[in-house]
């Protein structure tokens, strides 16, 4: 996989979540994702960027345009140095919440993406990578 383009958006406030949504939309338009796939990846990004801010205490989102063979896609990495997730399986379940939300963020973001990877260690932080291919 090669990275054709990359940019980072710091996520330390609610307004930054809006900036992440806009940056992801721009990248989605650039590779010509259709409207439904654009909406899916932007919605997933919104959920995960909010997690970075609310649960991770802030961090950043990396937005990359990648290609693999003939296909192009968007890869998003959400990283924080927060308290981490002790039980990832439990956190992925719909309805599980530690922050008073609906508990749809992680599972929902996974359903809205083609690839989904999560690494987290209690006390060290969380890194989630998702991708959507054209």
């Amino acid at each position: 996989m090669t990275v054709d383009q990359s940019r980072e958006v710091a996520v330390s406030s609610q307004d930054d979540v809006v900036l992440v949504r806009q940056a992801v939309r721009t990248a989605a338009l650039q590779i010509g994702l259709n409207l439904i796939d654009q909406t899916k990846i932007v919605t997933a990004a919104s959920e995960l960027a909010r997690n970075t801010f609310v649960h991770g205490g802030g961090g950043f989102t990396r937005i990359e345009i990648v290609s693999e063979g003939v296909r192009r896609g968007i890869r998003l990495t959400f990283e924080d140095k927060g308290k981490g997730i002790a039980d990832i399986d439990q956190a992925m379940k719909d309805g599980f919440t530690s922050g008073g939300g609906l508990g749809l963020g992680l599972g929902g973001a996974k359903r809205l993406s083609n690839d989904f990877q999560i690494e987290s260690r209690p006390g060290e932080g969380t890194r989630i990578t998702i991708a959507r291919w054209k």
Binding site: V17, I36, L102
Partner: protein, 130 residues
Amino acid sequence: MDKIPILRLGRFLLVTIQVDMHDRLALALQDDLTSQIVSTRAQGVLIDISALDIIDSFIGRMLANIANMARILDAETVVVGMQPSVAITLVELGLSLPGVRTALNVDRGMQLLRLSRASEDSDFDRRPIP
């Protein structure tokens, strides 16, 4: 812009969301609407979301909260104009917006509000208070 305007249209309140909302703005709208339902004695709320590109779980929860609070305050809520791509994404995300009534556009939404209030008007509101 840190406030979403709420218009009064007879017995109903009309809100058109035209900005990409951060979470604080969504919460402010929820509070503003709730207090305006009481102060204007509105019987219905129409929320036009045709300009919204996405609905994530936070905005979805705000819409459900508004509908539930309005119901407790004796007002109906209708959400209109959802884009098809937004609807598809919402379902995949796992949100079904429980308790939120929807209509295709503002016209149909108004019709729905009038209809749901018409029956009550005829046998209750128009009766003289003894």
